[in-house]
Symmetry: C3
Subunit: 343 residues, 3 copies
């Protein structure tokens, strides 16, 4: 579902402790090696967080959001990144508020948000993926993107969200973030997204640019994408196109699309997606993926789920599922069977 | 006290923030060097956690449990282990949910629990030790076991607990866990425990096997043990026998036993334990330990405590207390004086 | 404001989740390089914590306090230090309770506090600094002290606070902390502070000594200081003198003073400080700093703030602001523009 994410005016002051614990048995098969593991967050990323909003009066509000990713299968924390550069993560397995660490001021004029957060261009990947970029079903434009460390989140960010009441159905955001090097602009970047949604359909476009000194394997990284959804009642259909460019010495471009469907069936949802991702490297490595899943809701907070996915590799592509290894041009299969509980 | 740990059907939905902060002045004496420190968790492991249960109706429940060990003397977190292998811990001093990170589904048929948790065979060590494996009084089959990193907890685990209502007083659990290597079964294992307890006495047996490729210092690690308790009113007596085998190139076996007593005296408890651990290495290193402690409860949540312990080493054994160093065959003494507060 | 920090008798039992998320756009200018960053805690250190007190009856109370520093601009945690020695911090970016990790017993006789905490001598730096040692305005005796890792906090500490009711207005504390080495006394130390405050003015003196084996760059580190405040209604004036000595092979002494003012103006506060710090190294490096700030309170919990600071370096001093680089003897300027929200 294509939608905006800016908060409106807050009306009460509180602090909320929230989270998700989601663990699945995961199997991956490939032409070289299969693998069986317990994994975390195959339906919804395991996390624990603190958030709250305060009504300041005069149509103003303040809020904070601290959200830490948890590897629930082993209790470790997800790593963050302090400088938006492709270095090893910060945290070494200790908890960090890698998912979101922000303070906000909100008003009739929109929302000002400071800290680490999701980048604008990623929301189209999330919102067109029936699996919300989680688990073996994750669509390829997220799973194997060449867009690097700021493809999903960035640190040291100043973000602005349009107010929900600006124009009916229109939403948008713009972000600037800094790599914070002593010199140079490595890790600096900006992103924006603009969209429209009504009760039946939505459409949004996103753009992002992160700057890096040019080397053989790194350079300015530019992404743009469009996403759309239509809700037919019996099913919600989604579609997205994604275009990533890394301006390293030999410039690389990766492109892909997603088509997806989520249909309420019984106490749950049937999910179906088809996605592709192709990089213009030698041999044009291309992967295509089909994913099918069912989520059985035991309550609004708890669900059992099963997902099956298949990747078809062409050329030198060797994308594999759930930790399996597959040879270039070979296929890979994967299954998740899991339990998700949110609080 | 020998008891099961499976949860029954839940009847309400909530989230609980809980923890312990326990700090003690600790002295250790040995023939080579003495040592004085502040230590964490000498009565009860310092921790902070989030847990909750949800009633799903139809005799079903869901629950989560995220519990992080804290070194309360310096504020760092306890490390976790992602692959059940004897590598350096994960977390580097940042908080991890190393103590427990699980999601559960519960029903009349028992409990299914996924994530990182205590292994089944360890519960007999905990439940027969008057000091619950904390502090200078910790009994030797836990303190100096050769059973390695899965002696107490394991990651990537699927556990099943018998329902409490199966047979009156009968409890049991079985677990499978994975090391999650690309190839091989290093760190894979399974554990089980079966027991019976009534108001007066309890008895349980535990077994565990963790697989490792055989080297000069590592190999399949097998543990089995039995534990029992009798409650005489004036005191609760405990006893346990523990047998650990590491099938490295030159197979090693460690065996030990515990006898313990906990007696309510005044506003507190007197604790007494005697334990041994012997390894069949050259010279049959053997340690024997006597521990005596008193816990003075200021409330149900807060206690002052004092523990004295003495280790008698035989052969090449050089076990020492509270960070002291002692020569092979020499003795070691230790004292904890601490304050524990739980919330 | 000069004040004591010992807690009185507690009257209720509870657990409080608390914190601050404070992010600012920060610019620093120097003769070599300028720098623009997003920074955390420029008005009040970003943090998340758990604390609680319990009434034990009989004029006794217990309490705990676990407080983790957060780098809210990137979601990582602040590092702690396990042995009070100048090594790299512990935590590697994962959350640690580096700010405070303590358990307390309180009574008519005062408070006994065990764990990691602020050292006594630092409180005069904090309480005489209009900017509370946060952000670009931080006074120099804190910002560029030579007093090392125990200048602000120490681990493995036993602290005692005088009761508030001992003598009207008199407060004091004493602390002992241990480096916990196997041998030697590296990182061991003690601190004390004694003061008096009434409704109009306050005065306190602090002392600290941390022991280290003498090398070319490290040795016993001694600090002493005095702080005072006067509240004139229209403004609260503060003053402090600070003296640090490191008994390395060539002993170094650093001295500085602070004069400050905080004036309530409109819905906020105007802050002004002048501070110096001089080290008796070759050439007598000396820095002088002027800082001016305004905090606009949107509520008791939320504020916008702006701070300007200027450093004037003399001799080989090259102190710079907000990550800028400046040549010895050159000046540096800095600005913070931020949003603070507490919960």
């Amino acid at each position: 579902q294509i939608a905006g994410t800016g908060a409106g005016i807050v009306t009460s002051s509180n602090v909320t402790l929230f989270g998700v614990v989601d663990v699945a048995a995961a199997w991956g098969g490939g032409s070289i090696a299969d693998r069986t593991r317990l994994v975390s967050g195959a339906n919804s990323s395991s996390r624990v967080g603190f958030r709250g909003v305060e009504d300041l009066g005069a149509h103003l509000g303040a809020g904070f959001w601290l959200e830490a990713g948890v590897n629930a299968d082993d209790g470790t924390g997800a790593t963050s990144n302090t400088n938006n550069q492709p270095v090893s993560g910060s945290g070494s397995g200790g908890l960090t508020f890698n998912r979101r660490s922000t303070v906000s001021l909100m008003g009739d004029w929109g929302e000002l948000r400071l800290g680490r957060d999701i980048v604008a261009s990623w929301r189209n990947k999330d919102q067109t993926d029936p699996f919300s970029t989680n688990g073996v079903g994750t669509t390829l434009p997220h799973a194997i993107t060449i867009a690097g460390v700021t493809a999903q989140r960035a640190s040291n960010m100043i973000g602005y969200f349009l107010p929900q009441a600006l124009l009916p159905g229109v939403f948008g955001e713009a972000q600037y973030y800094a790599g914070e090097n002593q010199s140079g602009s490595d890790g600096n970047g900006w992103q924006a997204r603009l969209g429209y949604a009504n009760k039946t359909w939505g459409l949004a476009a996103g753009y992002g640019l992160t700057k890096y000194a040019q080397t053989a394997t790194l350079g300015d990284t530019q992404v743009w994408n469009v996403g759309a959804h239509w809700d037919f009642g019996v099913a919600r259909l989604t579609a997205g196109y994604f275009h990533d460019t890394v301006k390293q010495v030999a410039e690389r471009t990766g492109t892909g699309y997603i088509v997806g469907a989520v249909a309420p069936i019984g106490a749950g949802q049937l999910k179906l997606s088809y996605s592709t991702y192709k990089v213009d490297d030698l041999g044009d490595p291309t992967a295509r993926k089909l994913a099918l899943g069912y989520v059985y809701n035991l309550s609004q907070r708890t669900a059992l789920y099963a997902t099956y996915a298949h990747i078809d590799n062409r050329g030198p592509s060797d994308a594999a599922l759930n930790g399996a290894l597959t040879a270039p041009g070979s296929s890979s299969n994967g299954v998740d069977l899991g339990l998700k509980h949110s609080f």
